[in-house]
């Protein structure tokens, strides 16, 4: 399994965000996307997830363009955006159960356990703290597993204890033959990660 992107160009509202961007990601690798605010980290991840169409360039999964075979790529990745995608009136368990049913049914209680959510699993998400919501959202990675994790700011609002827990989950995933593409502000000091720096990838006609 491999993900490759070549010559990607991103234009948002007539502004060139990045140009000529390429990377490749193989099994067992973590690619850390880094850059200033507005450098296009989120845009790049949304492009990989297929929510944003690149103005130029292409993204390939196992050598096949995802544009040509969107269904083949659909179940291969899990995208976690910086928004939590949780409903405040449902409990953490109900939220996870819905997403697990929606994107492949798997063990929700195991996911709750992995992210240390068992105690608060049956309280509504509306009364949870930002960090608890984040963990509930991240638990989807376990309840609906996929080889490629595409994570936008996965550790924002987590305390150091849970950042370590997340890192252990990430390393376990990668060691088990997964791969991850993540964008964070802070360096997570992951031994197996490579860096993709978005600063300096702007085109020459950039303002």
């Amino acid at each position: 399994m491999s993900l490759t992107a070549t010559n990607l160009r991103c234009i948002r509202q007539d502004r060139l965000i990045f140009n000529g961007l390429g990377f490749s990601l193989k099994v067992g690798e973590i690619l850390w996307v880094q850059g200033r605010n507005g450098a296009g980290k989120s845009s790049l991840l949304r492009m990989v997830a297929g929510l944003l169409k690149p103005a130029l360039g292409e993204i390939k999964w196992n050598g096949i363009s995802v544009k040509d075979d969107p269904d083949g790529f659909q179940d291969q990745f899990r995208y976690i955006g910086h928004q939590e995608a949780l409903k405040p009136v449902l409990t953490a368990r109900e939220n996870l159960q819905f997403w697990a049913d929606f994107s492949g049914n798997h063990d929700v209680s195991a996911a709750l356990k992995e992210f240390d959510l068992e105690k608060i699993a049956d309280s509504p998400v509306g009364i949870m703290s930002a960090g608890q919501k984040k963990r509930t959202n991240l638990a989807r990675l376990i309840s609906s597993p996929a080889p490629l994790w595409v994570l936008d700011e996965p550790v924002s609002s987590l305390d150091t204890h849970y950042i370590d827990l997340f890192k252990r989950q990430l390393e376990k995933h990668v060691a088990a033959g997964g791969m991850a593409l993540l964008a964070t502000h802070q360096d997570l000091n992951l031994p197996s990660s490579r860096k993709l720096d978005l600063d300096g990838t702007r085109g020459q006609n950039s303002e």
């Binding site: 949304r46 929510l51 659909q74 939590e84 949780l86």
Partner: protein
């Protein structure tokens, strides 16, 4: 299919837990319709004459109140991204949300219509015709509304624009909906009107989920 039903059930469950969706549209409908007898005066002939029109317009406006919520809440909390990424085609995803909207926001209006119709001095034949016409024609409200909701989902204060986009498209349903009820009251055949309404509904059922899905794809970019 399972995912489709799951999404419909989840939206219904959200509407029930939040509660406000039911009560808001229902009370708006009741208040808006009761204003007419107060404004027009208690003359029974006039009320019976304008009754079908008042009920239909009331239903259209009440439906508008909840249209923007079809996709807005999911857009704001990031759920829409995830729904678009699932293996359920975006068209079916949109259709599931439309069905949930119809069940939670429009069906309650149909159910309360007989009581309001009585208050407008509508004869019994007219009441049955009213409910039948609403049942057959009202899916159009949710279907066309969802296209407007998809187009305005990324906008702040998109509500007014949504009304401007959607209300003109409701006109055919309003015309034939009222005509069906008036025909029934005048003891004329109302079949043709009901069939036309059914035609609108079926046509919208084919076109609108596709259009709403296209609008959503633009919105998440």
């Amino acid at each position: 299919m399972n995912k489709f039903a799951n999404l419909v059930l989840r939206d219904i469950r959200l509407a029930v837990r939040q509660g406000s969706a039911f009560t808001m549209t229902l009370s708006f409908f009741v208040v808006a319709v009761t204003l007419y007898p107060l404004g027009v005066g208690p003359e029974l002939n006039i009320l019976a004459r304008i009754g079908p029109g008042v009920l239909w317009v009331g239903a259209l406006l009440s439906c508008l109140l909840t249209l923007d919520r079809i996709f807005q809440a999911d857009f704001e909390d990031g759920s829409l991204d995830q729904l678009m990424l699932g293996s359920l085609p975006v068209e079916l995803m949109a259709l599931a949300k439309i069905i949930a909207h119809w069940l939670t926001s429009v069906v309650p209006l149909i159910l309360i219509t007989p009581i309001l119709a009585v208050s407008l001095n509508m004869p019994a034949d007219g009441i049955w015709a009213m409910m039948l016409a609403l049942l057959v024609g009202s899916p159009v409200l949710s279907l066309i509304g969802a296209v407007g909701a998809g187009l305005t989902v990324g906008m702040r204060r998109g509500g007014v624009l949504l009304s401007l986009l959607v209300l003109p498209l409701y006109i055919p349903v309003l015309i034939f909906g009222v005509a069906a009820v008036e025909a029934a009251i005048a003891v004329l055949p109302m079949g043709p009107h009901i069939l036309l309404l059914a035609g609108f509904s079926l046509g919208a059922l084919v076109v609108c989920p596709v259009a709403a899905a296209a609008a959503l794809r633009l919105a998440v970019e």
